[in-house]
């Protein structure tokens, strides 16, 4: 699934990274716990979160995430957006709540990051 499709499905506003919407999203994860994101996501996963601090951007950077969607209409401060722009991490915001946003994407075929459920999705290669 392309990030552009995710944007349409969630009627999301792009906060930065309009030029990277053609990126492929391989899987997704909904979490406000950054340690869980670091532990359980795979590269090129999309993160849905209600947290808007700088650590979310750092976590995305370390985990090679494809983009971040803020749920419940949350918006990070300009310093956070600027940092994401510099790191080429697209940021989007949707009015949908976490459960709805995740459900809409899952229903449309975007897999989670669980190895058990989606053996073909996002497994570490090496």
């Amino acid at each position: 699934m392309k990030l552009a499709q995710v944007r349409i499905m969630l009627n999301a506003e792009v906060l930065c990274g309009m030029e990277w919407l053609d990126r492929d999203v391989k899987s997704a994860c909904g979490s406000d716990l950054m340690s869980d994101v670091l532990a359980f996501t795979k590269e090129q996963a999309l993160l849905l979160t209600g947290l808007t601090n700088i650590q979310v951007i750092r976590t995305a950077e370390m985990s090679d995430l494809v983009a971040i969607i803020f749920v419940r209409g949350k918006r990070p401060g300009p310093d956070v957006i600027e940092m994401a722009q510099k790191m080429q991490i697209p940021l989007l915001t949707t009015e949908r709540q976490m459960y709805e946003a995740c459900g809409l994407l899952y229903k449309d075929g975007l897999a989670g990051c669980s190895l058990k459920e989606e053996p073909s999705c996002c497994r570490n290669k090496g």
Binding site: S35, L38, A39, E43, Q55, V56, E61, M62
Partner: protein, 141 residues
Amino acid sequence: MPEQGIELEFTLESADFNGAGEASSKIKRTLQQLGVRPDIIRRIAISAYEAEMNVIIHAYRGVMKAEIYSDRTELVVDDEGPGISDVGLAMQAGYSTAPDHIREMGFGAGMGLPNMVRCTDKFDIKSIKGVGTKLSMIIYH
């Protein structure tokens, strides 16, 4: 890549949440410039970032050192801090002593140390109560 390795060293300060992750970010960028495989870099970056956050959350100050060789990266994170009273317990997924304001930032879920073990090929932890904690990790390329 030079045979003797490249050494990077960073000073970490307690509660420096805005700077948290800068050291790991620099390590990651250096590995990218050296052409290390992306899936390996990801494991190193995650281990470094978890360790860096631990110092900023729990310790008073610390030093993170990365030594990058052609076949491996060695990370050593040495802090001055309260130490860990029960290392066995701290290694269990879900165990955390982090205060609420840290949890509100998305950390303190008790996944840091187990996550570092998972991402590294060799992991060693030494902690002395009232003195500090030293983590030594090796990731083969």
